[in-house]
Symmetry: C3
Amino acid sequence: MLKNPGTLVIGGARSGKSRFAEHLIVSSGLPRTYIATSTPFDDEMTARIAKHRRERGRWWATIEEPLDIASVIFRETGPEKAVLVDCLTLWLNNLIFYEKDIAAETLRLCELVKDLRGPCVFVSNEVGLGIVPENRLSRSFRDAQGRLNQDIGEACGKVVFVAAGQPMLLKPRQEPEITL
Amino acid sequence: MLKNPGTLVIGGARSGKSRFAEHLIVSSGLPRTYIATSTPFDDEMTARIAKHRRERGRWWATIEEPLDIASVIFRETGPEKAVLVDCLTLWLNNLIFYEKDIAAETLRLCELVKDLRGPCVFVSNEVGLGIVPENRLSRSFRDAQGRLNQDIGEACGKVVFVAAGQPMLLKPRQEPEITL
Amino acid sequence: MLKNPGTLVIGGARSGKSRFAEHLIVSSGLPRTYIATSTPFDDEMTARIAKHRRERGRWWATIEEPLDIASVIFRETGPEKAVLVDCLTLWLNNLIFYEKDIAAETLRLCELVKDLRGPCVFVSNEVGLGIVPENRLSRSFRDAQGRLNQDIGEACGKVVFVAAGQPMLLKPRQEPEITL
């Protein structure tokens, strides 16, 4: 087991990031737990959740937790099992919707991640690579998501970027250190 | 020649992805064919197409095909020539506009790509790395584009991501396999 | 010192690109100069600038220059100091706002970058990886930003892409050349 068995998988919408995260877990051969942060706000979301669950199959224990994922992760992780949290973007969305303290919740999660007792994979969206959104709420969500990804990325031992279904390992760095 | 001589080049708008794809083809020294999927919907598009064609120069055979690119690729590819398809994003746009069956067309294209008889480079946009679009049509386009990129990325032997004109090889992976 | 001591650091909003660029400069141990291109258009921007300055601390000489960064860079760079330009996206924004000739200004900057006398790090946003913006001005900004990143990326000896706070070296390429 790694010193820090946390992995952050980031990517765009429909980039294959969830599929790759599931592949990581399945390849480990460990019993697997899926922590779903999604709350079906509308029909589009409900359909998407049901589709994801069907695709995942039934070899997963599924726990739905929209807000207090730190407690669930603390309880569920261990050296002999693999946990998937899908996804931090919906978690952030829920924090905002229920007017939670994002900074405090992020700090709590990161402290936990630095001290994980077993493998845990976090899926999150990268949303800051488009044009500046016109409305303030979108800009503020984009900033919060970016900060969250930086913080979790720093806490996790591994960070993977996925595009067109293909993973790229950002951390730990495979290349020599970058200098001026 | 590779087992699968298909290459997917993805990137953002004005990232240099088309230029890099052309560089790949030109560097091969093979006779070259350009399959243009663009349909000039408006003046902005017409000007852009004309500009691209001027920049490309005349050492290319150009074929315009907005929809049935599979047939053209099947006919045009071969071991002694190099084919460029620019781009899948406009092709997808055309499929939607003409109300074609996207899943069926994608499947047909991917089956062909898995069995290419000669080098073929596909240019496509990554559009899922911004904030969630407000209108449903944009969200649905984003999802369709992401799925298409994943499917073609899986079918192709190579996937390259381009940013600021710089290519990054995502597939085949140069690093050891990523595990938990 | 490298043949070309220019470095372009690109990434999304809140990706950690500025922090990484500052880390590059600080790690060099050289005296440091910060060229700020930001013009506070509104309260949101004013607060962000003040926050950035507080976070940077006072070991930086700060020069504010919204438009003529080429002259400032020419004057400030040298083998015994490190210069940070943060960021090209706001510079581009200023060029547009004051109706300057973007192509001419970009060319002037790139000529200078090709012949830098000391290390200079440029921070810039990648904004082309979302869905096509609905308004023409945003599309045109996106195109201008993409072209600028390509041009500066070509002029600089190094290009780094940052996501979730993690850097990835795009240039110089660490892998064998990509071919068909």
